[in-house]
């Protein structure tokens, strides 16, 4: 799980162009949207693509993302349960 969390952090930094952020800067339990990293709606859509690209997970509706993308921890849990690659 720890490995997956680090991997997710690296992928998010790369996917969302968070150039000045390092994995250590991201608290896996902290909210990703609104505060913290200040991500917005386009970032959420990009995270949906990321899940599909790296983990073979297709969300049937973008609304599902709201729960999944709460924090790095929630993403990691979802990925571990649902990944197909």
């Amino acid at each position: 799980m720890e490995e997956l969390v680090l991997q997710l952090k690296q992928q998010i930094i790369k996917t969302l162009n968070l150039e000045e952020i390092t994995p250590d800067d991201i608290d896996p339990a902290a909210p990703l949207f609104g505060e913290g990293l200040g991500l917005d709606s386009i970032d959420a859509l990009e995270l949906i693509v990321m899940l599909e690209k790296y983990y073979g997970i297709r969300l049937s509706s973008p609304a599902q993302g709201k729960e999944i993308f709460k924090s790095i921890d929630t993403i990691a849990q979802y990925v571990q349960k649902n990944r197909t690659k």
């Binding site: 969302l16 162009n17 968070l18 150039e19 000045e20 200040g38 917005d40 709606s41 386009i42 970032d43 859509l45 990009e46 949906i48 693509v49 599909e52 690209k53 973008p62």
Partner: protein, 551 residues
Amino acid sequence: MKIVATNITSPLGFTTRQNLEAVMHGQSHLHTWQGTFGIPEPFCASLFSDGQNHELQVPDMTRFQSLVYRSVSEALSHSNINVASSRTLLVLSSTKGDITTPLSITATKIAAKLGFTTKPIVVCNACTSGVCAQILALRLFQTGAYDNIVVCGADLQGKFIVSGFQSLKATSAHPCRPFDMERNGLNLGEAAATIIFSREQAPEKQSWNLLSGDIRNDAHHISNPSKTAEGSYRSIQAVLTPERKDSLSLISVHGTATMYNDQMESVAIQRSGLSDVPVTALKGYYGHTMGATGVIETILAIHFADKGRIPPSRGFSELGVSGRINISDQTITTHPGSVLKIISGFGGCNAALYLERCQESETRVTPCGYTTLSSVSITTDTVLCDGISVPTTQQGRALLTEIYKTHIADYPKFYKMDLLSRLVFVASEMLTRSKTFNDADDCSVILFNRSSSIVADTEYMQTIQPGNYYPSPSVFVYTLPNICTGEIAIRNNCHGETSFYILPDKDCELMDLIVRASMTGNDNSHVITGWVDCNSDQDFEIELKLITRNI
């Protein structure tokens, strides 16, 4: 400015009359497509059939060039204007054109083939382009620089655009439902439409005239409209007087059937006190035809106003927006009168037009003068502020990051921008920091280039390769070059105009005319304007200036 001829070329027909009849009879060519363009997910769109494409094809022209050529030619056949005159102009409205060929080259080729001798201007203001092109025409016409202006809006569909809108989760796989409770996204569509404005001929004693147009930015977000409809509301206020409000037959809305757009437009209409004016929403007939949509909807709106009958807003059934609007799934009877056309698009851009059937009232205005308050120019290895060199060590893309880190540093969104927006962003920051720039509220951003959004286009295409198909929403957004104007508006909280024009070359005289014409009759105090061309990480230039109108 008088309308003397029009054309609509769409899957519903190749003339305005055919399109009008089709819409009046409730026809649409919206179908669900599966596997088309190599796109895995189904999508619903209004596309030309193979037979129609064959019929439209012009030798030695691409599908897009042929479409524009046919639409403009058909419109010209209804007028006597002298195309070859130095006082006749072609304005092309398109978001993506041929995609792989820069729109400046495409427009030049089409203009030459049609016999124009002046340089064409491409308006690339996302979904608002078709309305903004008419506004540009009105302004240039009023300066007296041209006697005839041919405005053509066009876009075609393919893998690039459809995959991009799908990645933004903005599309519906079923026929779209504007303003409806059940709406769940837009449909894309193919079409071209042309309006010829001229001072030379009068087919009728009272012709339709475009009397007023206005462009405003939300300064809110690059892809989501303002919840308070700020830009749309302001553009409506700018074109309507109390008398004009009372004379409206109808409002032609954008009505894309996305959750946000329709909600925002309903707020703009209610805020403007126009809840009782009948609304026409046409995306259920055509889908979203992008560069063409603002032109098609203007043409059809004036015909509805003439007939006093507005066809059902196809796809609508039960109101699903918070603002009160007068929309129907039945034909609405209205009094003959004037038309308000509104539209909004990515980059936070909103525009409005006011048209009326009247005796032509010739308004001639002298473009105002301006004073340059500051200037910045950046190339791949030099930065000049007001002519003074700023010491830097990096080159190319890295130079922009260096400027950001050294002189700005408080806007991490910089890292999310594409190269074009980064370039415009750092230049505008250098431009405004050296001057007192407290009152930015009505500041406009008007930019020009030649190569559109070629860097983002190339990057996006990498994400839709067969076998490696993961369309990137954040890259796709930047394939609209006007997004960079929205970035500046958001950063500085500017609710003035944002416009992006693509020209065949860096024609300073023409750019100056367009900018001065925009300031005339506008209440903007400041304009950020200039040339910004961006071909690769190692090949870009920007010359930006902050100007203020002479009083």
